[in-house]
């Protein structure tokens, strides 16, 4: 190996850091910061674009995270731009599976979050429901789309308008008999416990999962999880709806826990607990 300078690599690492921190930046600005010519910057950006590190648009460079690169390897746009143009129909298919288990007159608890929110407009066909939630935004949506009685429980309102669990909410929950508990979860851990994203809701969901007559867990695609926020054992759930992308990971685990695959389509697979249902 002849003496090779690492100056080129170092400059590209520096450009990578600037683009990553700024999100997007112009060629002119990079040239000024690094005190090199536009031609040199363009060559560096061409290299970094080839490496999948960024995308170049009209004199700018826009950072692409590794996850964006994997998700959008055939797309021109990073996903945060594509999200302005695309609607994710997969989520809707995941949640509308739950409608099969909701009957007129049921008392249902809907967990917080944007995924469960997508189920709400479809509740208009169900009559005489009592819908209990801890998410203020979702509660308002239920009022808009159905004539259900809406009960909001919880304690302090967090920045997402979700009510954090308190001792008061525990005693209120005990007053209800839940026909259905419909919730989004993040993973099934190696000990067959269901994991949720937010620790704030761990206690309340643990309580409801124990008490509900019927429980339906929905697992969308996830990137990162915290395995410590468990809400209950897989075997205590009646129905699990898995998005297609996670079926390989959990299929065997569900079969080992006495779940049976009952329906499948191109978006999701539904499993029933043969001991509970």
């Amino acid at each position: 190996m002849a003496k090779v300078s690492s100056a080129l690599l170092k400059r590209r690492l520096e450009i990578a850091e600037i683009v990553r921190k700024c999100g997007e930046i112009k060629v002119d600005e990079l040239s000024d910061i690094l005190q090199v010519s536009h031609v040199t910057i363009r060559q560096d950006l061409t290299y970094l674009e080839h490496q999948g590190y960024l995308k170049r648009f009209f004199g700018k460079a826009i950072y692409i995270s590794p996850e964006d690169f994997i998700n959008n390897s055939t797309s021109v746009y990073p996903s945060r731009l594509a999200s302005y143009f695309n609607v994710d129909n997969n989520d809707i298919k995941l949640v509308t599976t739950c409608l099969n288990y909701i009957n007129n007159g049921d008392t249902i608890f809907l967990s917080h979050g944007s995924l469960i929110r997508k189920l709400i407009p479809f509740l208009h066909n169900k009559k005489y429901l009592t819908v209990i939630l801890n998410d203020l935004n979702n509660a308002q949506l239920v009022k808009e789309f159905s004539d259900a009685e809406v009960i909001l429980i919880g304690g302090v309102l967090d920045k997402s308008n979700v009510l954090k669990h308190s001792n008061l909410s525990s005693s209120i929950i005990n007053q209800f008999s839940f026909s259905n508990f419909i919730f989004e979860f993040s993973a099934i851990n190696a000990n067959d416990y269901l994991v949720i994203q937010d620790i704030e809701h761990q206690e309340i969901y643990q309580q409801i999962l124990k008490n509900a007559d019927h429980s339906i867990g929905i697992l969308p695609p996830q990137m990162k999880i915290n395995e410590n926020n468990t809400i209950g054992k897989l075997k205590n759930t009646d129905v699990i709806v898995l998005s297609r992308s996670v079926v390989n990971e959990y299929h065997q685990q569900l079969l080992n826990s006495n779940f049976k695959q009952v329906t499948t389509d191109k978006y999701c697979v539904t499993y029933h607990n043969v001991l509970e249902v």
Binding site: S6, L9, Q51, Y53, P66, I70
Partner: protein, 316 residues
């Protein structure tokens, strides 16, 4: 001195050809999957010796990924820095031995979960107690990976830690354009370099003996350079108190070689961790050679990692 080591890079499953010189283009038998990957084997050997080690990598959310994580965790590696991802699969490799100490590989690293190793992946909170980083040359397979390693390197150095580097050159790396520049960059930070004797000439600016080539590399500020000779032992070059370069030789051990894959990384892990904990160079080399020999006597890339007691028993 208490040591806590970190390393990052490729983690994959390997399928090893059953027969010697087995061709890839003919239907044949392979044995596997074995957990593999140079930095993973290094981490596994450090953990087996009883030292704390954290390994950062990415796998797919598939049985291969789970197997790799479970195996490392079982052997004592801190696996909190290994993430699992839905949309990509765990990297895979097929290997065949084509000569007594030469293998050929077909691997899929760049289009696998390993491609997600990046700057953001390196969590400084996980590395905050580490005082040493080991880098394998095989982990420099993309700009993103180099970026991640650069972050870890700068973090460890800024906290007063040390860096060891094994270029781990193999012929499949010739496709990677950034290799020469990244080697040059990392050597600026390296304190301990471990290199196979066949690769020494790669770093020669001019023709010369091993000692001459090593001397020119040491001018970059590297404190120890170990030239590994496989079963024939190793030379360690170090400055003495008169600023002259001394060479310390430690002999190898005669063993029937069953599978030498992974043995080099076991050598690296044993030498680095024992040196950092206060062993003399001679002792560290002796144990490292023993670790190499023990690893070569087992089939499978990670199957020959040894505990300190096993090495001591071998040496006694």
């Amino acid at each position: 001195m208490k040591v806590k080591i970190c390393t990052l890079g490729e983690l994959f499953v390997e399928f090893v050809a059953k027969e010697f010189n087995q061709r890839f283009d003919q239907t044949s038998e392979y044995i596997g999957p074995y957990p593999s990957g140079a930095p993973a084997i290094f981490a596994n050997q450090v953990a087996k010796l009883g030292f704390p080690v954290i390994f950062l990598s990415c796998v797919g959310k598939d049985p291969f990924g789970k197997m790799c994580i479970n195996r490392l965790k079982q052997d004592g590696v801190n696996v909190k820095g290994i993430t699992s991802h839905n949309k990509v699969k765990t990297a895979t490799a097929f290997s065949t031995q084509i000569a007594p100490k030469e293998r050929s590989l077909i691997y899929n690293i760049l289009n696998s979960a390993c491609s997600l190793i990046s700057f953001d992946h390196v969590d400084e909170a996980l590395l905050k107690d580490c005082n040493h980083l080991h880098i394998m040359g095989s982990s420099l397979y993309s700009f993103r990976a180099i970026d991640a390693i650069s972050k870890a390197m700068n973090f460890i150095k800024s906290n007063g830690g040390t860096i060891s580097f094994d270029p781990n050159l193999h012929k499949e790396m010739s496709e990677i354009r950034e290799i020469e520049q990244s080697f040059s960059y990392i050597l600026e930070y390296t304190d301990i370099m471990l290199i196979n004797e066949k690769q020494v000439k790669y770093f020669a600016e001019n023709h010369g003996s091993e000692k001459e080539i090593i001397s020119s590399i040491m001018e970059k500020g590297i404190k120890y350079i170990v030239v590994k000779k496989g079963g024939d032992g190793a030379n360690c070059y170090v400055y003495d108190n008169r600023n002259n370069i001394n060479m310390i030789y430690s002999k190898g051990f005669d063993m029937d070689i069953i599978d030498y894959s992974g043995a080099d990384y076991c050598f690296d892990a044993t030498f680095v961790s024992l040196l950092l904990t206060g062993f003399t160079i001679e002792q560290a080399l002796e144990y490292a050679n023993a670790s190499y020999a023990l690893s070569s006597s087992c089939k499978g890339p990670m199957e020959g990692t040894s505990s300190l007691i096993e090495i001591q028993k071998f040496l006694s």
